[in-house]
Symmetry: C2
Subunit: 234 residues, 2 copies
């Protein structure tokens, strides 16, 4: 049996060995959900960046620039961070430069891994099917919120672990914790997550529609994959 571990925050990643592992990056609200949505709607590449400047520079080089700050599209950008923006016909075959702080940090820190994949509830079963066949050890890497552990990413980790029980054995306590949390929440994820700090933060920004969308399972059969500085469809 292969092994599965969970890193609950980028601040903890140095405690994990990444070599020889598949790393699954998760940032449910909203970076990885939007990435998955984009590839499901025929976006060709996504370049995740932290800085707004870098994103605008990529726009000057021909990319579509996507970014929000405090719920508003950043001046000069073409679109915001909502997964609904990533469904646009105009993105087909295009490269999107996406600003995301937590998600980009996680991808940067995972570079030593054998393979870096993007996970969300939207593609969880398809991702699990791929991972089952991979016969490799897995680290689920939660992007968290400004370094802190968050509930929605941990819950995704628990869900993915449950889908992989036949092929992967739990290797650390964080994975046990995530699975336990998911088992308690699975009957009603939305109610379970209502008190979660980040969902509350986003709800205040009037993006409840985005949140509901990001918690939908198995909507898409794509797996974004990090390769040479860019995300492409696997």
């Amino acid at each position: 049996m292969n092994k599965i571990e969970v890193c609950l925050s980028p601040a903890l990643i140095d405690l994990y060995s990444l070599k020889g592992k598949i790393v699954v990056i998760v940032d449910i609200l909203r970076a990885t959900s939007s990435m998955v949505t984009g590839f499901a709607h025929s976006v060709e590449k996504i370049i995740p960046v932290t800085a707004v400047d870098k994103c605008l520079q990529l726009k000057a080089e021909g990319c579509i620039a996507a970014g929000e700050r405090n719920g508003q599209i950043v001046e000069g950008m073409d679109m915001g961070n909502s997964p609904f923006s990533y469904m646009a016909e105009t993105l087909k075959g295009k490269t999107v430069a996406m600003t995301t702080t937590n998600g980009t940090l996680a991808i940067e820190k995972a570079r030593e891994a054998t393979q870096i994949l993007i996970g969300a509830f939207l593609n969880i079963q398809h991702l699990a099917d791929h991972l089952k066949q991979s016969k490799q050890d897995i680290l689920i890497f939660c992007a968290g919120w400004k370094g802190r552990v968050n509930m929605e990413d941990s819950l995704f980790a628990g869900n993915l672990i449950q889908l992989l029980t036949a092929t992967h054995s739990i290797e650390d306590d964080s994975a046990h914790l995530a699975l336990s949390m998911y088992q308690q929440a699975q009957g009603d994820i939305a109610t379970y997550l209502a008190p979660c700090a980040h969902a509350q933060r986003l709800a205040k920004m009037n993006i409840q529609k985005d949140i509901d969308f990001c918690f939908q399972k198995d909507k898409y059969q794509v797996i974004p994959h990090f390769k040479e500085g860019k995300l492409v469809n696997l």
Copy 2:
């Protein structure tokens, strides 16, 4: 209402503000359980230290030296880390120099707090009663295992939060996560914790008796308290 937060690992502590808060340090297997047991059996002071050398130096100055490495009492020390060692008649009124890596690190990092208290299942209700009356914000600080999140400390955090729901509101996702885990485990904590990595590690060292003891609730009515480099009974 006052606030309650949980820091799941010393590697995350820099993300939390400690000023004006009571910090509860927890390292269930076995440092904080042994500390509580010691004060319940009339130990006068405990000096937590990381290095064996420092512990032996304190022995030379008149302390009782306690420390284990890989399940064996360290050469030159008077006793090991088991809570049962802390029940000895010979410790009454004495100062114990205790080597503990995870626990000491957590105490070092918590120095900015208004008050540093020691928690374990053994004193959890007594501690909760004190905290209810304190009318201050609380950070439960899990010592973890070599920087990683562990299950037994997180579970204690969830238990303590549940005991404080009437006076303290949950402030971060880690606290929600810990409470959720505890709610699932509370019917049968021992079974729930059986797969936990650290318990398995310790079980291999033939200290199942210690583990069973550390998961007992409300055995003692003491609260160790950090003051001027030493732990004393509150």
